[in-house]
């Protein structure tokens, strides 16, 4: 198990190495990437900001819940903060399980939970201005 909030690049292979073990037949790894568009606007870059002291325990809680639902699962997750350019990896969730369908389900459940509950915020620098993305809302940034 490994849960990181980091300003440096995320190495998905490192997370996969954490979840690999001799009983694991399947690894599902999700990577979130900075896209060049959002809300119909072109995006130049993003800033991610985290409440790290709360985010890491929240990630651990999600990992513990995954292990309750899929007892054989092993989990690693990392989220990057700071300025990210188009094509850079913002978040990775990697889950191993004995079989593939449970690996897919557990990984997807993990990233969905992370996105809705881990205190990390995205500031979008786009053609139409700079916005904080809060759920379905984009609110003008003032900083």
């Amino acid at each position: 198990m490994r849960y990181d909030v980091t300003t440096g690049p995320i190495d998905a292979h490192e997370l996969e190495a954490v979840v690999t073990h001799p009983g694991a037949g399947a690894i599902c790894t999700f990577s979130g990437i900075v896209r060049d568009n959002s809300r119909g606007q072109s995006v130049t870059h993003l800033d991610y900001e985290a409440y790290a002291e709360m985010a890491v325990p929240q990630m651990r809680k999600i990992g513990d819940e995954i292990k309750q639902r899929w007892p054989a699962a092993r989990v690693a997750m990392a989220h990057r903060t700071g300025k990210l350019e188009i094509g850079e990896v913002s978040v990775v969730v990697s889950v191993s399980c004995p079989h593939r369908h449970e690996a897919f389900e557990a990984c997807r459940w993990g990233i969905d939970r992370l996105k809705e509950s881990v205190p990390i915020w995205k500031k979008e620098h786009a053609a139409d201005g700079t916005y904080w993305i809060e759920g379905d809302e984009a609110k003008p940034a003032t900083g």
Binding site: E49, W121, W132, I133, D136, A141, G143
Partner: protein, 86 residues
């Protein structure tokens, strides 16, 4: 008997920009709730989000109700909704 308790307040993301500060020390009366703390902060930082449902409070890194009472030495954080996304 203490006439005030000291908390450390942290702001994040849009609320950090509105308050103009990341972290500040604050004294509040004993028995103050998260709501009371936020009201004090709103008076200090008038640009801070007025719509209460766009803000969550956390005490010592745990999301807490607005009616939760803060204690001396607590870390209190005010945070906007997380990004979510598809």
């Amino acid at each position: 008997m203490a006439v005030a308790i000291a908390v450390r307040v942290r702001f994040f993301a849009r609320l950090r920009e509105q308050s103009g500060t990341e972290i500040e020390a604050l004294q509040v009366p004993p028995g103050a709730t998260l709501e009371d703390v936020y009201d004090v902060l709103r008076r200090k930082h008038p640009a801070l989000e007025a719509e209460r449902k766009a803000v969550r409070g956390a005490i010592n890194q745990e999301l807490s109700d607005w009616s939760a009472v803060v204690a001396d030495g607590d870390e209190v954080a005010f945070i906007p909704p997380v990004s979510g996304g598809h």
